[in-house]
């Protein structure tokens, strides 16, 4: 159990008696950390993701808080929001750009955050995998849909 071997165990005459303890009766953590020789990712994906969370976070502070102030606080709060209000805003490329950037950053930031959460809590590899498939699908769908809406918005639709 507590034998620390680094090389291969070339133990001679290991008369391995049957283990004396019912190992089924251990209180085990979800997944024990195993010997991880030679598993190196050699990519910077995790680091870039980490950096992205921080960079996007900083930008989002302005975008999201600005958005909230405009939508919920300034002249009349939610009450003012209507098709016409949206139409008015998206007439300007500035607001189009704002919302587009916000959409992309927030979705990517949120999706990456959700990825972390899934990695943390999903216990089995298959569960992880399917949850991530779901996450990616939902994210791609939302981002594309949102982008489409912003660009193809037609104030004269009826």
């Amino acid at each position: 159990m507590a034998i620390e071997t680094t090389g291969s165990v070339s133990g001679v005459e290991l008369t391995n008696a049957a283990p004396t303890d019912p190992s089924a009766f251990l209180i085990e953590p979800p997944r024990a950390r195993t010997k991880r020789t030679g598993r190196k990712s050699r990519t910077n994906f995790e680091m870039l993701a980490w950096l992205f969370m921080r960079l996007s976070g900083v930008v989002l502070v302005f975008l999201v808080l600005g958005h909230l102030i405009i939508q919920l606080v300034l002249d009349g709060g939610v009450t003012k929001i209507s098709f016409a209000f949206v139409a008015g805003r998206w007439a300007s490329p500035f607001w189009q750009g704002w919302d587009l950037l916000m959409l992309w950053l927030a979705m990517l930031h949120g999706a990456n955050g959700m990825r972390t959460v899934i990695n943390d809590y999903a216990e089995r590899d298959t569960t992880r995998f399917w949850l991530k498939v779901l996450l990616v699908t939902a994210t791609v769908f939302t981002v594309l849909l949102g982008t489409l809406v912003i660009f193809t918005f037609d104030p004269n639709i009826s």
């Binding site: 159990m1 507590a2 620390e4 680094t6 303890d21 019912p22 089924a24 009766f25 251990l26 209180i27 085990e28 953590p29 979800p30 997944r31 024990a32 950390r33 195993t34 010997k35 991880r36 598993r39 190196k40 990712s41 050699r42 910077n44 995790e46 680091m47 993701a49 980490w50 950096l51 972390t116 990695n119 943390d120 809590y121 216990e123």
Partner: protein, 264 residues
């Protein structure tokens, strides 16, 4: 630093502070405490159970002393690890009143003895019996970061020269006693034991920032892994738990920044 020579006149009757008087009075007001221990012995029962022990003790003793008293006088089957009894060997990390601590560095009076004192094994490692957990995954993560000095070229005949400032750069993380209090306080580690954990990172830090070492690049690469430093969510549980007062989170952040600056 030079050692001042002191030939000062004897200070007749040192001024005594209240703290010293209290420490010296030797006056012992015994109190009765309840120690509630999460026991688990798979040879007898597949489930863990909470067991209460009552004992009368001097509140200034260590929690470890209380546990020893239980083992020696009430229940010899109680199992835990201990050795040095003064916080330098790292054997007796356990969860006392919900927090990771060393039982030998925690005094009864400091863990609200008026209520039952709960004691559980540290979290996230396989519990083998009572407070004894399987330390192998913990040491495996430690070994994985190459915790030894890596140098190239010929060894000097005398010592390597290193300034005191360069020593100070990593001094904090050399204090680690591998007690696992930090790693097993980390919420990320509890989720799945795959995260390297703060202790391994602390020990990597100890070498990455040692001016004599030339293996920083390799160690950083290892910690750049999916289960490396990037999993840390800065929850500071490790820093709060470290009995050696190591600024664990700070060390982790320094490793993260070293990884970032290395690339850009």
């Amino acid at each position: 630093m030079s050692t001042p020579t002191i030939e000062d006149a004897p200070q007749a009757g040192n001024p005594h502070s209240a703290g010293l008087d209290a420490a010296e009075s030797g006056k012992v007001e015994l109190i009765t405490i309840t120690v509630r221990i999460r026991r688990f012995n798979p040879e007898e029962h597949p489930d863990a159970v909470w067991v209460d022990y009552q004992l009368t003790v001097d509140p200034k003793i260590r929690v470890l002393d209380a546990i020893n008293t239980i083992k020696w006088e009430q229940d010899g089957t109680l199992t835990y690890r201990r050795s040095c009894a003064h916080g330098v060997c790292g054997s007796d990390a356990m969860r006392i009143n919900g927090k990771n601590r060393l039982a030998c560095k925690t005094l009864i009076k400091d863990v609200s003895p008026e209520k039952p004192i709960t004691i559980e094994p540290i979290k996230g490692l396989t519990v083998l019996k009572d407070l004894v957990v399987d330390m192998d995954p913990f040491f495996q993560a430690y070994r994985d970061v190459m915790p030894f000095l890596i140098t190239t070229g010929n060894e000097p005949t005398r010592e390597r020269i290193q300034s005191e400032e360069d020593v100070q750069r990593f001094e904090d993380t050399t204090k680690c006693i591998l007690c696992a209090a930090c790693t097993t306080s980390c919420p990320v580690f509890w989720n799945d034991g795959q995260y390297f954990g703060p202790a391994a990172i602390v020990n990597a830090h100890r070498f990455i920032f040692d001016s004599r070492d030339e293996g920083a690049e390799q160690r950083l690469e290892i910690l750049n892994d999916r289960d490396g430093v990037w999993r840390c969510r800065t929850t500071f549980n490790c820093t709060d738990a470290c009995p050696r007062g190591i600024e664990v989170t700070k060390a982790i952040q320094e490793v993260k920044r070293a990884l970032v600056t290395r690339r850009f």
